[in-house]
C-alpha cells in the first residue's frame, strides 16, 4: 500500500504479523482522520460529533473509506488507513472505551478473553515474530501466554 523512502524497510516491516507501521506515507494519508480524532479533545466537538456523526465527519476532507471505518468503528481498518492508536484513543475515549477494550476488539477477542490473556503474561512473541517464519519459531499459536510475574529487587 505504501512505499517508504528507504527500500527494504517496509517489506521487512510487513513481515511482522498483525502490526501496521505508522510511517510518513501512512501519516500523510491519515492526516485528516487523525486530526478529526484530535478535534474530539474539546467537549463541544464531542457533543457535536455524538449528535450527528456523519455530518461532523463532513467537516474533515477524508476519504469515503476512512469515514466508513470511523462510523463502523472498525479500528484495524482505521489503522490501516493511516489512523494512529494515540489519535484513535480520542475517539474511543469519546465512546467511553478503554485502551484495553479496544485492543481486545482489534485482536478479535472479547474484553474478558483479552484481559485473561494479559493476566497470564500477555501474548507470547513465539510464533508472532514473522509471517514468513524468519523470526525463529514457526508455530502459529497466536495467543500462547507468557507467564505473569512481579518482582522488585534491591541491588548492590
Amino acid at each position: 500500500m505504501t512505499k517508504t523512502p528507504r527500500p527494504g524497510t517496509e517489506d521487512e516491516f510487513n513481515d511482522i504479523p498483525g502490526t501496521t507501521l505508522f510511517d510518513m506515507q501512512r501519516s500523510r494519508q491519515g492526516y485528516h482522520l487523525n486530526m478529526f480524532c484530535m478535534s474530539l479533545m474539546k467537549p463541544e466537538n464531542r457533543a457535536e460529533f455524538k449528535a450527528n456523526e456523519a455530518a461532523y465527519l463532513e467537516k474533515f476532507p477524508m476519504t469515503q473509506q476512512q469515514r466508513e471505518a470511523i462510523l463502523k468503528r472498525d479500528w484495524n481498518q482505521m489503522i490501516y488507513l493511516g489512523g494512529n492508536i494515540y489519535f484513535l484513543s480520542k475517539l474511543f475515549s469519546t465512546d467511553g472505551l478503554s485502551f484495553q477494550h479496544v485492543a481486545a476488539l482489534m485482536t478479535g477477542s472479547t474484553q474478558e478473553q483479552y484481559a485473561q490473556m494479559m493476566l497470564k503474561g500477555g501474548r507470547s512473541v513465539e510464533g508472532n515474530r514473522s509471517k514468513s517464519g524468519r523470526g525463529s519459531s514457526r508455530s502459529k499459536s497466536a495467543e500462547k501466554p507468557a507467564r505473569r510475574e512481579s518482582k522488585g529487587k534491591r541491588r548492590g
Binding site: T9, E12, F13, I16, P17, G18, T19, T20, L21, F22, D23, M24, S27, Y31, N34, M35, C37, M38, M41, N76, I79, N84, I85, Y86, F87, S89, K90, S93, S98, F99, Q100, A103, A104, M106, T107, G108, Y114, M117, M118, L119, G121, G122, R123, S124, V125, N128, R129, S130, G135, A146, R147, R148, E149, S150, K151, G152, K153, R154, R155, G156
Partner: protein, 307 residues
C-alpha cells in the same frame, strides 16, 4: 557546577495515573504495581534532587500531526497537566527551570543536537505518571522539572544511538552550568507492549530482562538495536525504550544498579523500572550528609526489603 547523579527509568502507562487518581491503588490488580515503588519513593525522597530532566513522549496531547519535533525541550516556567479527553489529571503543575533549560538547549544545539525549543506546553501522562509513581500525590512536585519530549509515535523515531549520544550532550551541557544543582534524569515509556492491531497484547519478558541487564552493563550494545527489532520482539509501542537510552547516555559508563522492578500486566503493558546511580556518589555535591552515612543508610534499607 550542576551534576546528573542518577537515572530513573520507568514505564508511563496511563492506566496507572487513572488508578492513582481514582483511589484504586489498593485493589488486588494494582496493589503489586504500587508496592514495587515503595523503595523508589524513599530513595528519591532521600536524594532530594533539585531538578528532574524528564524524557518522555507526548501522546497526541501537546503535539498533534501539525508539528512533530523529534526532540524538544521545555524551557517554560510552568507546564500544566494536559486534558487528554477526560479532563486534566488532578496533579500539580510541573514547574520548570527556564534558566537551566535554556542553557541546555543552547549547549546541545551547538553540540549538533538540533532540538526544538518549546516555551508553552501541556504535559500528558507520559510525564505525569512517572512523577506520581515516584512522589505519590503531593500538593506540589518537590523539585523543578524540565520536560524533554521525544517523537516515538511517528516513524521514524530517533535511533537508539542518537538518543544515547543526546544523553551525553545533555550531560556536557549540565556540567557546564554555573549553579550547584543535583539532577536526576528520567527515561520513561516501555517496556514490551503493543497497543494496535491483531498482535496487540504482546509481551516479551526475555527481551525486557535483557534490556534491563544491558542498560546497566553494556548500554552501547543496546544502541545497536534497530527499530524493526524493537517492534518484532517487543511490540510496536516498545520503541519508547529508546528514550531510556537518553537517560543512560547522561550517566557514567559504569553505574550502580540500585533497584529494579518488573511487573506484568499493567493494562496492555509490561511495566519496567530501574534506578541507576553514578559510581561517584551524589552526596559529594553540596552534601548535607557525609558520604559514608548515606551509604550505610542505603544498605539498611536494602536488608529490610530483602527480609
Amino acid at each position: 557546577m550542576a551534576k546528573i547523579v542518577a537515572s530513573v527509568n520507568v514505564s508511563h502507562v496511563p492506566a496507572i495515573g487513572a488508578a492513582i487518581d481514582l483511589g484504586k491503588t489498593q485493589q488486588p490488580y494494582w496493589a503489586p504495581v504500587f508496592k514495587g515503588f515503595t523503595f523508589s519513593k524513599k530513595w528519591i525522597a532521600d536524594l532530594k534532587p533539585d531538578v528532574i530532566i524528564l524524557v518522555y513522549n507526548d501522546h497526541a496531547s501537546a503535539f498533534s500531526l501539525e508539528i512533530i519535533p523529534t526532540f524538544a525541550l521545555g524551557c517554560a516556567a510552568v507546564f500544566p497537566p494536559a486534558d487528554e479527553g477526560w479532563g486534566p489529571r488532578p496533579v500539580p503543575v510541573a514547574k520548570g527551570h527556564p534558566e537551566l533549560a535554556s542553557h541546555i538547549a543552547q549547549s546541545v544545539i551547538l553540540d549538533e543536537f538540533d532540538l526544538t525549543i518549546v516555551n508553552k506546553m501541556d504535559v500528558d501522562h507520559g510525564l505525569t505518571v512517572p512523577l506520581s509513581l515516584m512522589f505519590g500525590q503531593p500538593k506540589e512536585w518537590p523539585c523543578k522539572i524540565i520536560p524533554l519530549p521525544v517523537n516515538v509515535v511517528q516513524y521514524p523515531p530517533p535511533t537508539g544511538n542518537r538518543c544515547f549520544n543526546l544523553g551525553k550532550a545533555i550531560r556536557r551541557a549540565v556540567e557546564s552550568y554555573h549553579e550547584d544543582l543535583r539532577i536526576v534524569i528520567f527515561g520513561t515509556g516501555g517496556m514490551s507492549h503493543q497497543l494496535q492491531g491483531p498482535r496487540a497484547g504482546l509481551i516479551n519478558r526475555k527481551f525486557d530482562t535483557n534490556f534491563l541487564d544491558k542498560l546497566v552493563k553494556d548500554p552501547v550494545e543496546l544502541t545497536k538495536i534497530p527499530f524493526l527489532e524493537y517492534v518484532r520482539e517487543a511490540g510496536s509501542e516498545a520503541i519508547e525504550l529508546v528514550m531510556w537510552l537518553i537517560a543512560r547516555g547522561a550517566l557514567d559508563a559504569k553505574v550502580r544498579e540500585v533497584y529494579r522492578f518488573y511487573h506484568v500486566p499493567t493494562s496492555n503493558t509490561a511495566l519496567g523500572h530501574i534506578i541507576l546511580e553514578n559510581e561517584t556518589k551524589p552526596r559529594a555535591l553540596g552534601a548535607k550528609k557525609p558520604r559514608a552515612v548515606a551509604k550505610k543508610k542505603a544498605r539498611v534499607v536494602g536488608r529490610r526489603r530483602a527480609a
